[in-house]
Structure formats: structure tokens, C-alpha cells
Symmetry: D2
Subunit: 336 residues, 4 copies
């Protein structure tokens, strides 16, 4: 049931790396735009992405739909922020609609700068344009350093910064954005750096592709699933968690999300340590499918931190194989 020997690292399947054969067309990556966001920074960490075609998308849904439609080979989107939590647009979009697969993750440190048109001082700032998430992460700095400034909602941190260059900008306008934007736009002046309230803030991004062969097992992998909470049985959430606990599979992330049907109707977005080709993970997946048949598998892929989980003897691949052999011997040659 489970692959004892992962595919050799040198021969990834098509989904694991959308890189085309020599001579073929350049791969197309889309990402949550506009250019100059942390998401593009995450994409640039993917081998080959600098040489590939990179298409910003106006929102997460548009990025994923481009992959589904085949106009992009893969999409880079944020999934989790150490300060703000799960990126709900992503969690929801990958869990519904035509199936997609996460083939890679990237973690990017989040640092913010305050920019304005040249000549503005921090004390003169009256309006700070930025995305709500960025505002939430710099609120403490703003209250301490620009207490009179109000927040102006922007559709992205880059959009807020670039609007400063337009005619509608007023004196006292500033923006909070990623350092990359200031680097690429010298006409913006950096008033303050590292203004995030949480110095260690990071965002985790995922590279999403169409279903295909799984990225090969590395030993330090992560598996993501979306599990609707079955409603016909009390204690269903514990039943779901027990599928992992009983096989020694560790959870590294769990988010509850409404299905949108009515209050209290959830699905859970879950990351676990291990690869679907690990016997304990494969067995847990089978258990999940039984208790919640609409469970969606969203991918197995290498962890960026390379952490190899400890696997107890009784949930090792060997233990599962020995158990299967033992039961088959009991059932005899006539058994299915």
C-alpha cells in the first residue's frame, strides 16, 4: 500500500517541479501580486523561478484558477503568518473546487519599512496606507511613533506604496511595505525600517500545482489535508485527531474553517509530519477517509526546515509491513 522506496531524488515527477525539458517552453509561475510583495520573494527562492515567466495575480483565487486552467504551471500563495494566523483565502481556495496539490513550501521573514515621498518626516505622517495584515503587524510601532496617523486600507502593501507616487497622494501620506518595493522604487524615501511589532515574524508560502506524481519522499516531509467535520457523530473532531495520534503522526498545524454553509459547519486544514508514502501517514489517511469520506489530500512535500520526525518502532514502515504480512498469513491464501 505504501511505497517502500521513494523515487530517486534526481527524478522528480512533473508536479514536483514544473520545469520543462530543454527546448520546451519556459514554465509559467503565477503568484499573489502585485510585484514587490513577500509572495514574489518566496517565489524567487524556487530553483528556476528567476528564469521562468512570472505572472502576478490579483488575488489567491485568480492565481489558483490559472493553475487549474493550465495557463500557469504553479502558483505561489501565502498560507500562514506567524502573527496573523492562517491565510483564510488560501486555506479555503485550495480546499474546494478542482483538486490541487502543494508541491513545495517556502518560509520568508517578514520585515516592514515606512516609505513616503521624499521630504516627509515620521512626525508629519497623517495617513498610512497598507494592507490590513501589514497594518496589524505594525500597529504597535505606529501607535508609538505616529500616534496621529490613521490607517488607509490598501489592497496590498505594494499598492499602498505605489499610490504615493500618484497625483492623488496628499502631504502627510505614507505607506508600510516590504523592503523590496523601496529597493525597486528609489523615488520612494524610507522613513523607518524594521517597524514590525514582532521581530521574528515569518510567513509561510506554498507552491501549488495540478495533481500529478508526488514529490519524492525525503524523510523530512509534510502532508496537508482538508478534513470536513462529520456531523452525524459526536466527538468527530477527536476521532479525526485520533487517526493521527494512533499512528504516531504529529500535527504541526491545524486551522478550523467554516464551510460557509451555516455557523458551526467546519472543515479542518491540517499539516502533519511525514509523507503519504510513509506507512503511518498512508494508514492515517485511510482512517481519515473512513471517518470523513470527503477528506481532501492536498499534497506531500519537503519541509523547509529539514526536520526529520522521530518515528516509534510500532509505527515504522517495518512494523506496518510485518503486521500486514501477519494478517495475510492468518487469512490464508484464499483471502482477497
Amino acid at each position: 500500500m505504501t511505497a517502500a522506496s521513494p523515487a530517486p531524488a534526481g527524478t522528480p515527477g512533473p508536479a514536483a517541479s514544473p520545469a520543462p525539458a530543454p527546448g520546451a517552453r519556459r514554465p509559467v509561475y503565477t503568484f499573489l501580486g502585485p510585484e514587490g510583495t513577500f509572495t514574489e520573494a518566496a517565489l524567487l527562492k524556487v530553483p528556476g523561478a528567476r528564469e521562468a515567466e512570472r505572472v502576478p495575480a490579483p488575488n489567491v483565487n485568480a492565481a489558483l484558477d490559472a493553475v487549474r486552467a493550465g495557463t500557469a504551471d504553479a502558483a505561489m500563495v501565502p498560507i500562514e503568518n506567524s502573527v496573523e494566523g492562517g491565510v483564510t483565502a488560501t486555506l479555503d481556495a485550495i480546499s474546494t473546487g478542482p483538486e490541487l496539490r502543494i508541491v513545495r513550501e517556502e518560509v520568508v521573514p517578514i520585515t516592514f519599512v515606512l516609505v513616503s515621498r521624499p521630504g516627509t518626516r515620521v512626525a508629519e505622517v497623517r495617513r498610512i496606507a497598507t494592507h490590513g495584515h501589514a497594518w496589524a503587524q505594525c500597529r504597535g510601532w505606529a501607535a508609538a511613533n505616529a500616534p496621529d496617523a490613521v490607517h488607509l486600507a490598501a489592497s496590498s502593501t505594494a499598492a499602498g506604496a505605489l499610490a504615493l507616487l500618484e497625483d492623488t497622494a496628499q502631504p502627510g501620506d505614507a505607506a508600510i511595505c516590504a523592503p523590496i518595493v523601496a529597493e525597486e522604487h528609489p523615488e520612494l524615501e524610507v522613513l523607518a525600517t524594521d517597524i514590525g511589532d514582532n521581530p521574528g515574524a515569518v510567513t509561510r508560502f506554498i507552491l501549488v500545482s495540478r495533481p500529478g506524481a508526488l514529490p519524492p519522499r525525503t524523510g523530512a516531509d509534510k502532508t496537508t489535508v482538508a478534513v470536513p467535520l462529520p456531523e452525524d457523530r459526536p466527538g468527530a473532531l477527536m476521532e479525526i485527531l485520533e487517526q493521527f495520534a494512533a499512528r504516531g503522526v504529529n500535527l504541526s498545524r491545524i486551522e478550523s474553517r467554516p464551510t460557509g454553509q451555516y455557523l458551526g459547519h467546519y472543515f479542518f486544514s491540517i499539516d502533519v509530519d511525514g509523507h503519504a508514502a510513509d506507512a503511518r501517514v498512508a494508514d492515517a489517511l485511510a482512517g481519515l477517509h473512513r471517518v470523513s469520506p470527503e477528506t481532501r489530500f492536498l499534497g506531500s512535500y519537503p519541509r523547509t526546515d529539514g526536520t526529520v520526525p522521530e518515528v516509534a518502532a510500532h509505527v515504522s514502515d517495518g512494523a506496518f509491513a510485518a503486521a500486514r504480512t501477519w494478517v495475510e498469513r492468518i487469512l490464508g491464501p484464499d483471502a482477497g
Copy 2:
């Protein structure tokens, strides 16, 4: 340990109802503003709120801080939306800082209208201003009926609508807001009604006060807690859930939230059926405090839907009282 007889319904404690004694000053309610949002509609459902002083707050934190500072007696803020999920600003704000208590919940159906300055037709709409949450809930309608319109981020649905009345508004501008805004501003024209993608969408709001006597037990109550995930023990989430399961206490909501310290560091915001004065809930709270000593109690209050949970015999108040008596008899008169 647990109150066998709830306080009579006619004599609520101060926290349960911030209404002052006759002759005293009017109570002050704050709410997530501006006026004209669903939050104000929720507040107006509270008995006495129409006669009380009502102060809009610019954001959830400001509303709760007014309660903490004593400048408001209670704050109405959204906590959960059937489409968008938990309101993370609220979940986070009530779970940190000086302690607060939820004393009441209200559920309000969410319906949206498209408004503009008079004379605009839907087909002419080019920009739609609204809050991101509202946009998310009308995206389907917009794609079908105003495919060329782009979203303009607004700090609230009301703010987006009122901006249409300012000089900076351009032809083709429209806004998505609550019906109440259009009613109060006849100078806005309603282009379309009921444009939400989920006809049954509702938002749940909570009335938050300073700690005080609990609202009396009604038999159809809800209790809210914030439980940090202990990190020193594997399987801690299951251990938390077992505190409820072992006492037959049903979960009606669970949200994971990052503490903001680093990826994977969570707390859980949980609603359960029952009142802290129910023996099974009190015992579960004690268990939670043991496994996660930083657990925060956020209130016991009546459910709006009046649903009375079924309580199995072995987790009834009587079973807990009998068990306590039995153990005390074993330990003898010298014990405890």
C-alpha cells in the same frame, strides 16, 4: 464547587446587564463602528441599548479597550461569520490583555445591497468599495453582474458607502454595504439588494464586559474559553479536547489562533454547551486549567437559540455531587 441553584433570572449581576440603577447615569455601550454596520444592528437587539449611550469605535481593540478603561460599560463586537469564519481581531483581542467577559451573544442575518450616487446603473459600475469581508461574500454576484468592476478596499462597509458622497468619488463608483446604511442615507441609491453569495449568511456578535458576577444559568448556555496549546507534551490538543469529551461537554466552536510568537504556537478559542455553574463544565474547566494553566475563562452566557443540551446521567450535577460525597466519605472527617 458548583452552584446547584442558579441566581433567579430576575436578578442578574452587574456584568450580565450593565443597566444602572434608576436615577443613575445611562449605561454606555461601544461597538465596532462606524454607525450603520451590522454590529450596531446587533447592539440594538440588547434590551435597553436604544436608550443607552452608543459610541462607535474605530476597531475591535479600541472598543474593548474602552471597556477595560471603564469609559464604556460593554462593547458589541463580531466574533464569527458563517461565511468568513472567526473574526480574528476579536478572538485575539479578548484572549490577551486585561481580562474581559462575554455576557451575551446576538446572531444577525447578513444581507448586502449595492449602492451608488443616483443615476448610476449596475452595468456602469467600475469600482466597488467595501470591507474585504463583505467583498468576499459578494464576489460571486459581482463576477456575474459587474465583471469589469474592481474592489476598492474600505475600512468598513459603511465607510465605503459614505465615501460615495464625498468629492473624491468618481463616476462608476459604487459600494457594498448593509441595508441600514441606505435607509439612513436616502441620498444613496440602491442598485441591487440581497447580493450576498450565501443567502443564509449570519454573523454572531458578543457583548463584552469587565469581569463580574456571571449571567445566571438558564439551562441553555454557552461558555467560551481561550486555551493555549501546551508545548511540553505531545498530543496536547487531544488532551484539551478530552477534558470536554470526558465530561460529556459538547464543543460548538473551535478556532486555532497563532499567539504571534512563532509559527506553530497556537491557542484555541472554544465555545462549549453549558454554563460554568454546571458541574460538568466546572470540572472540565478545572481540568483545562491543569493541562494548560494559562487557560482564560471568557464567560458563560445564554445561547440565542435557546437549545438545551442533553446531559447524560453520569455527567449530571447530581452525579458529580454524589461522587464528591462518596470520596469525602472515603477520606474521612480528617480529610481536606
Copy 3:
């Protein structure tokens, strides 16, 4: 892994029924002797046993060793008494040594008679010979009706009765035995009937054979295992029980037995509802083998009471098959 279609009822394997082909030698059954015990009564309920060769064995070990050595085809031994509990000699003997398989169960009502040489009255009885188990089940009657009589230990109820016919018997000697002994030995007088303290007492017997094809699945089956308690993990007993609970497999008997190595070193003898060819049972067996690799499978066989267990949808054969297919599709064609 699990047989979707049980072997047709008309073609049992060799182990399920030791009956030979026409013209072959008569099957040989051994049983816990001597003749005239409840065990022989249980054996006579097996189709064909009346015509077969029946060899009494001096004790349970001898009976099972005859099967192991091939001098008997099967052995009937007691395993559980509704009053006295598990028959420890049997529980221990089938759980160690060369493997054996339970292929059938029989339940026999236990009734006792008091016998003596003709002419003795109950009031004159001074010594009552019988097996310790029988004495334990008639102690109340004896205290009430023959308060001055002492118990004389006998190696079996039949032996105690037959000793009355020997020269060493003294006046005032009596014996407690099964009715069958009195019927076959008219020279014994029945002083009292139905003298057991528990009128509904029954003993369950098992027919034990060498390993072979399992008796076919009937839908109302029982599976027996012996599971050593792993010592290297706390909570191991719960881990064992969870293998059944997680698959909706109901326990109908559990006995703890010392392994004899030191105090606190146990194995558990367990009966569950269902057949090893049921997917949920096969999966639970595999789980048991992982958590306690020395787990011994002792057979799947029809229940005498014909009770068909209710099987929830998520642990049906269909749910297991669908889950396996789903995981195999995820792993792709290259997966083991």
C-alpha cells in the same frame, strides 16, 4: 488484505471441521475428562462427535498436547464459566506453546446433583467430594442444607462421584457432580438436584484444532486473541483497547493473565465480535500486531448465539475498501 467473499458455507476448511472424507479414518476428539463431565456434554453437541472416537484427557494441557502431537484432531475444553470466570488452565495453555486455533464454541448450562451410595440422607452427609469449581458453585446450598459437611477436593466432579463406589468410601460421604454421571451410574443415588447457587449458570467450551483454513465467515462470528501487555510504553492497555474501539470492534470478553514471569507481567485474553475476514477486525489485528508484536491469533469461529453485530458505515468492509483505493490513487502507480 481481507476476504470480501467468505468461503461458501458448504465447503469448510479442514480446521473448521475435522470430519474426514468418506472412507477415511474416524476423526479423533479429545476432551477434558473424565467421561461424564460437562465437557463431554459440550463435545457431544458437535455434529459427528457421537460417531467419532472420543478420548478423555486427564487435564487441559494433555488434551491440547494431543492435538498438537496429531493424536487427536480437535480438543473440547472449558474456557469460561458464568460463575467462576475464565478457566485459567485453558486460557494459559492455548496462549503459549505451538499455535492452536479455536474453531467452534459451545455453551452448556451447568446444573449439579448431590449423589451418594444408596441409603444416605442429606442430613447424614459429612464429606462432600467434588472439584473446587463445582464446590464454589454449590457452597450456598451446602451451607444451608448440609452445614456440617466439609469439602473433599476431587480432581473432577466425576472422579469425586465415582470414588463413592470404591472401598475407601465412608458412611456420610457424598459427591456433587453433573446429572449425566448419575444417569450413567444407577448405583449412585441422587439426594438432591439443581443445587447450584446460580440457577442460570453456564460454561462456555471451545473446540481447538491445529492451524488451518479459518471457519468461513457467517456474519455472526467471534475472534479470540492473546495480547501480551507491552511494557516499554505507559498506557499500553488503553492502546490495545483502542485498536478495537477505533474500528468499532466490540469486546465480549477480556481476561488478564500473568505470564508467570513476575508480578504485574500480563497478557490479555480477548474475544471480540467479528471474523478476521471482516475488514475492521483484520485492521484491528494489524494494529495489535504493531503495538504488541507477540500478539497471538487464536481463531475466528461462529458464535453459538448467532448475534449479528451492528457495523457502523465508517468501519464497514466497503469503507475500508474505499479508503484503500483512495490512498492508492494518491500514491500513484509507482507506489508499492
Copy 4:
């Protein structure tokens, strides 16, 4: 609810030590007789027992009934043998009828000798009288050294030995008994020593008294309970075990026993680490009483091996006290 400070070790309650005040009558101990058994050896280890009145009882029930009736202050009876398992007569007798309390345990190594009338050689032995339990423990030695000898059931090991001195004894008769019998009866010749098949075999005995103050908490204690399996809820056994697991209370013994009503109707005899005055044990007892109201408390008493269990922080007395205080503060001064 739980005693924070155990009674000082120097002032045991009456039940903990039946020793009378100076000048009062000598205490009376009964034990499973006859004299010369391992049970008497266990009793003699109790401080003061050598000077007390010691009355052998014909069986376990008689010993316990003497305590219930007040004709004995305490009874020493076997409860568990490392080879044969639980002593079912004791497990059943202390779990039914008027309540009793275990106040002490003793562990005695079990060694056997073969005795006969002088002049017999092992090779000449034809019949070996002994109790069934002793026979079971020397069966291997007998098969190897006296293969032609048959077992003669005796009501106790001492009785079998003493019968050799009576007129009815025949040439070739021998007995298996405790060394103490041979020491006290020089007219018996010891043919072989240490003939038990398990050299490390031990039996655990308990001293049973009427209910009274518990023996003081020592930190290395054991608590015994009898828990009927509730029948109205599936998974009840796991629910029972979870009462201990959830409070970090370790099981050191579990035996299933039939209630005698019908097949499959059980109670469980359970030993756990800890004293009823430990908060985690008291809380587990309360939980047991809820899930199985007929649970019987059979005593808390010092372990003979003095092992102090590791107690995790979240189940320490301090954690329970802090949790209770926290909940009481939530419920406010008006609560229960």
C-alpha cells in the same frame, strides 16, 4: 476534598493497625489456614502478629466473615500469585458483601519442597498430594523427576503433607508443601527442595480490616478498587481506564472477574499507584463513581516495594488545588 497533609506516621488510625492500646486485649488475626502455609508466613511479617492471637480459617470467605463479624480484627489472605494469577476467591470475596478495607500488603517468595514419610525415594513416588495451585507451579519438575506420579487434590498444601502422617497414607505417597511445614514436622522427610518451575515465584497477600481511617499517605502507596462494568454504554471499559489515564494514575494490576450473573457480566479488580488522599487519585475515584456508581473502594495502603511514582506537574496536588481555586474564583462568592 483531598488531605494536603497526611496524618503523621506515628499515629495510624485503628484500621491501619489493629494493635490495641496497652492493657487492652490482644488483637486477633485470622488467615487462610491451615497453619504452615505461605499465608501464615505473610501474617508473621506484620509487626505485632507474632504476639497476637492467630486463628487459621478454612477458606478465604470464612476469614473475611470473621473480620466482618468482629471476631477477628484483620485477616491475611492471598490476592495474587506471579504464576497462577489473581486469587479469584479473594478478589470476589472482598468485592461483595459488607465493605472491607485492605490496610497492608505483603509479598512472600514461593518455594516448594517434596515431602514424604521417611524412607521413600523420589523414584518411588506414585501419588503427590497438594493444592491445585501448588501442583500447577511444580508440574514441570514433577514431569521430569516423577513422571509416573499422579496428582492427588488436597484442600491446602499443608493438608496434603499432614495427610501423609495418617493411617490412610500408602507407600509411594508424597506431598508438595511450603518449607515451613517440613520444619515444623520433623517426622516428614524432605525429598527435594526448590521444586517450583518458576524460581522467582512470589505471592502477594493483603491484610483486610473493617472500614475505618485510612492508613496514612506515605508517598509510596497503592489503592485498590472493584469497578463493575456499566452495561448501558459501549466502550465502558475504556471509559473506566480513562479515569486513571486522564489523571496520570498508573495501573499496576487489573483483573476481570465475572459477577456470576451471566456470561460477559464483569467487574474489574484494579490496583493503582497512589493514595486516595492524593488529589489525582481522589479525582479519579470521583470519576469512577460517576461512570460506574457501584464502584467499591477497597483501600489505600503502603506498597511493600516502596516505589514512589513520578507525578507529572499537571496532576500534582498543587495543580488540582490551583485549578479548584481558579474555578471557584470564576464562579464567584455566590457559587455552591
